[in-house]
Symmetry: D3
Subunit: 329 residues, 6 copies
């Protein structure tokens, strides 16, 4: 099934590593690729997801409007860099449920499984929890039962069933600016009922790796490699001037993904450019999606910057895996 | 199935309403019926569940030991008032899962469904969540998958399937002394995977009914009446000297139990006796179980008092239903 | 005007000081004089005000009902000890304003000025503030403009105009369990517009008098003595187990009552009896009214105990004044 | 009286809307118009007020000195853009009161009513409350009674009496970084005694308009239009990295200004330029004054940026009114 | 030196263990032995220390007066049960320092070392820290340098030098109701300069022993036994209604007392009697002193109850040691 | 001894004051002098110390690596501006103690006393406290006993003994983002045992000097001048968007340095350049070291900027002293 996606003939978004760059990831030279005012009503566009689609790419974008209401919008691109985003938010029809309330939607992820594109997001239902929907064509969208009770954020599906069941990462939360947070995995036979909840990975001790000592959450759809599932995630440190979000990576066991094989002690990319350090929420890089090409050994990570704009970073897939193994906690 | 329970020939624990008592519930004259030191290791025994069993009653008791470790213990009684509690906590074997960690167990509920006794409790698995187990005989116990991700408390099963699925009330929480809390319902086809989460009932506005304005949580197994499911629950107000727990009642639609038909504005029973106002946690009445006899129109509610001892209160089932309808918010 | 009140011929509530009692105040021997369940709907009756009326006494009582809704009720007594409290709360008509919303009413004070009985209370108008009303007969009641913006509590009128203006003590607050609080005075030419706000008295340093180091608030109507206004007030200390309320006294300058002449370093009466230490809010004595007879040198203080019941304490007026002078901060 | 001001012949500060600008407000091209170090002692100059005066403009400026003491300073300008600010703070003489303490002064507003210029500000008197003063010539200044008890901020007078009384907007606060706040109106016959307090407008629900869901406060003096009083105000959202201040507008009933006719769901202007996002307090735009010319249909709004400098924004008065009506909550 | 104390001929305070008592400690039958009003000015007398002296006992008592000012008072007893406490607090002269400020004194401990009685207490010097003083006769008292910087509480000396240096246990704190706290040891060559600070024992994990999971602090002077130093200490759990204090015991290595050999998982004595559960601070037992007679195998522990009165508990020294070894964490 | 340092022949880092600059301090024209990525593993380099060494300068640098682990690194420079920093952190051998644990090291200070270079830093030992070490050559380093119990930060030695004892400034703290903090002085005969703790200087009242009203801490090694010890320190204000750090100066009595002779009401330098306002922790200038040349009347201050990079500022020593005297609180 994933093969079909891989045979996507679209141009892969890419720039080679700059000379003198010692880092495992590097930024697109013309970041941010999407500005806060890219559609007429928007206050900010960030924390968004993309996926190969037809001869190009489709995306689901978090656009907060100027009332700072949060919603998700479909968009399309030929090259993964220049995007046309719809001016109206996605309207959902009922999927596997009578339609349920949705006070807000934010931080989407998208993945193709079997026959359709599944979307998960943070869904406002008496507080944040994980919403699930799907589409076949990015025109008609169907909303399903929420996966969990409130309060939860950062629900991320695996791109294929594991042991015959759908699998989802998530981070139990509270109803505010949650000051804690670990990554769990849950399974479902049918995308409706969920169980077998297991703790995957916890925030670290301050002394061991302070950038991820307050909370962590899964980012893009995990990528299957020879070393297991590559999970790129965000970690947070609580400074005296607020939360600072950076991104790291982990390798999870292919068949038992609650087993962490490796996990980076250093971050891969932290807020260091102006558009990452200045904006509605300073000092945030927040990855939500990644494209990869295993043959070409390319990885392109889309991340929200300062809760205001969308940035793009590149890396060699093999180097990221290698770095994760060699710099593991 | 429930009929079988009803035909239980045990003596129903009961005292008639005292003269001059105007209230819908009244206390057992020799409360507390279980003392904090009733077993050798205990610091406190409270928030416990009972169920008809053979020619008497069985119970699952929260006994905190003198290291204040929380665990659940089986116990037995002929009359529902005098109890023999085992000196060792329940040991579980694997039920529908490989055995999972359980840092602590507290606040159990017990219910007979179809062929066995199901137990739910607050289970320590990276924080509080809802543990599930079952027994056929109160000798061998089997522990299943946790129902939900952390953080959750007060998981209470309905005594029969609803629309072909198991149904459970619960209260999403945080990992501390949760200062908020509403009651939700979730469904499962198999006691392993859970979904279709719906909000049932929220904490009230301070002005409308302050005793339940901070948080609420389901108590005993709901009782099916002609007016729907009678749910006895606890409500909390946050005073300047801490949380005060009282108990109220609601009537839920028989087939769509996320629909609240009636809900008491006044409490049914609040902390007013010394053993309810003084103890390890002052000012707590916390109902976890109820016996009822529809023919005799009797209701006996077991509740934890001051997080220290077990109290027993009586009422006429029909009067409680009537009171709930006539004093609804 | 006050003379008229003094000529009230009612029996003054009184018991002589017990032998061996060294304290300046002593408790009524049959405290609490009003039980929490004294009217059918009540959960608690406390923090209430009384005033001479006809050949006996009238009162305005805080009765929280069993939904823990707060309201004020009229009541009557021949001897100041045995009370008949109305079963329905006071209903107000418009006084000097179009009727304004009143989400709740609590902690009343009552005083006769010139030609009528003025009532102040904590009024719920987008949070707590000071409500004002009046009555001529304790049958018809009229509600006026709130004195202040939210958030305020413990509004207490002086029993006569000062320099030609009405004068009111109050305590600016926040909208929760305010962890701070000082006593201010404000003036009004007409009971409608208020100004000339002055700080009267602050919470103390912990080292100087810890029982009143967290917050303070005026209690009964101030009493004019040869030494100035005798103000009985409550003080609060924040222990690791919550707020503890005791009562003290101060003497304010007759003509410039923002000048504090004396103020007790020790408390006069603190929670030490069971009904003061155990109840809905443990460790509270909260004075709201006092009767006095200057000729007989008698003082009777009504106070809420544990936010649950009403207690009564006695003292010699001259001894209280003397004690205040000799034990001043 | 207002006519007199309108006939002011000073040059109105103005720049036409830039091409391609879709917004209802646009920034001055050379913002910030006043730098943080514009006078020798200043650390920052922001949240300031201006008013037509003689053949130009006068202003009252919040200048925090390098000890970060807050005080207000007079200043003058011919064109409303280039300002000369006095190097010494305003010294007040007694107005309608014996002089009262004033620990600090900040966030001034200025308005001409009848015969003089009234100034209101946040006055430090045992915590923040509303100070009132006046001047005839911006040379001699007179300080009056504070309008309210602590704690209050953002006191804003209407430019004319309403129903024969002075009217003031304000926002009850606490003594810290107040995490709540709604707009109230109060009336006075004499600028000394205040009453008839009414709630005007509350912070919104998060789901409806998150930029103003934490607190709101009035900004410039309200402007009388055919649609009622145009009130420009600030709204605050609490992000995980602190408060973010943006500005919106509302239309209040001309004769009953506690009635809100329209109120913008989206903000009019949010922090998006570097000098608004970076400074002593990042992500703040805080409007305190506006000039308008009804004939020319011009509006010029002065706002503090990042609690550090003064910015200027322009709009068409009619477009702002229209936008407020068409984008109302 | 210690021998001299042992040869004290005073009657040892004692009652034999009640029949049916299964616990390692039991309470004096006439507890509390000292009432809150035992001296004229006192509000409460608790957390106090006693020591053999001449042919009886001397003590240093924490008496909070009715202004709730904290100070320490000397007292004397023939039998260790009936006490005469001075009505005036201890006045100190300068010991090894110019006299330093002392805003308050509370929670004393007393120990005889070499030639004099050393007293330590919580001393108010810009916040709580450890005060040190000595006396030869309980008439003249000398105050020395504070041992540590603020903030610290529960400074407890060992009864003899260890490796040639004085040794003191203490608990670093903050300046409020410290929600954390571990026991440290420090050494001094001269009772003036302190160093070599080592962590001895930490609060436990909630799952392991919840009664001591919030904070712990040393209680009486440690007692040298064949198994090392017996340290009786208090532990705290933070319930939703405040802190609950119980007492446990540990055995420390004789020569390296920062090494914990055993430590009780269960508490030895928790608040269960009314005078321990009800008072100024409910649910507190707080041991500050112990008498022991090794030959007679007797132990008598003095403890504050509910921050209001003094209780006395007995045990067999050998049983306490045995219990500590057999119930160790 | 200090003379020897003075005879250091290295080029003093310097730039003359820019024309039009009115301030007492001015920034290096090419700030920041050390970038966040100056060594391969670093995330940030800031809060660092330098000292004359041989014919140039040595330094101890705080480099947080990309796991945000904190450690200190040696570095060397010919001109005090261009630095070579070692790629590996300092490894310590035992000094006057068995080696003790050190979970992290940050915010170093360095000073030459008598025969060696002493280093102090914030040392992770069950929370932050003051670590002490020394070196003769910046190749071999020796770690001594911690000076104090946790929790403490900003330990700064005087450059010579005072009254025959070593003297250290420090700031008692808590274990989080301490919201309070005053400067104390302590003495030691031997760099091992510390005592005679005296309070030197407190955070100010908000009204008097708000930039330093939350907490203060010593910065560089104090400099002996004709007017006493010049202590440059940081002060913090808590804004609604977090802590803001600026720097000021004080003059302490030469022989009794707990006596403050003068202390600047205004700050000397606050965050105003982009690299000071934007970074991992916005709005921080944090001085840790200063070079001075008394003959040339030059002062060069090294400070951390935004917890990310190192800045350098210059001033005339005599002008700083004069400014401190003339602008004293």
């Amino acid at each position: 099934m994933m093969q079909k996606i891989k045979e996507n003939t679209a141009i892969f978004p890419w720039e080679d590593k700059p000379e003198n760059c010692q880092d495992v990831l590097w930024r697109h030279s013309n970041n941010p690729i999407i500005d806060r005012y890219a559609i007429p009503t928007s206050n900010s566009i960030f924390n968004s997801a993309v996926v190969p689609f037809k001869d190009g790419y489709a995306g689901v974008f978090r656009c907060d409007n100027k009332a700072v209401q949060m919603n998700i919008f479909a968009g399309f691109s030929k090259n993964g860099i220049d995007w046309e985003i719809n001016h109206k938010p996605i309207e959902f029809e009922a999927g596997n449920t009578d339609m349920i309330a949705s006070d807000y939607k934010y931080d989407p992820r998208v993945v193709f499984i079997e026959d359709r594109y599944w979307i998960t997001w943070c869904n406002g239902y008496h507080g944040p929890t994980i919403g699930i929907g799907y589409t076949f064509d990015f025109k008609e969208f169907f909303q399903c039962e929420n996966a969990f009770l409130p309060f939860n954020r950062n629900g991320v599906l695996f791109p294929q069933k594991i042991n015959g069941k759908y699998a989802m990462l998530s981070r139990p939360s509270d109803n505010g600016h949650t000051p804690f947070g670990d990554i769990y995995i849950s399974y479902s036979p049918d995308m409706k009922y969920w169980g077998e909840h297991r703790c995957v990975m916890k925030a670290t001790n301050f002394e061991d790796s302070a950038w991820q000592c307050t909370k962590i959450g899964a980012g893009p759809i995990p990528i299957l490699t020879d070393e297991g599932w590559l999970m790129i995630y965000h970690g947070v440190i609580n400074t005296c001037n607020g939360f600072r979000y950076a991104m790291g990576s982990a390798l999870l066991d292919e068949n038992e993904p609650d087993k962490v094989k490796y996990r980076t002690q250093p971050y891969l990319l932290g807020p260091a450019e102006t558009y990452e350090m200045v904006g509605d929420v300073p000092n945030v890089v927040f990855p939500c999606a990644a494209l990869h090409d295993i043959k070409e050994d390319k990885l392109a990570i889309y991340y929200g910057a300062a809760d205001t704009v969308v940035g793009l970073a590149y890396g060699k897939l093999s180097e990221v895996v290698q770095f994760t193994k060699e710099n593991s906690l």
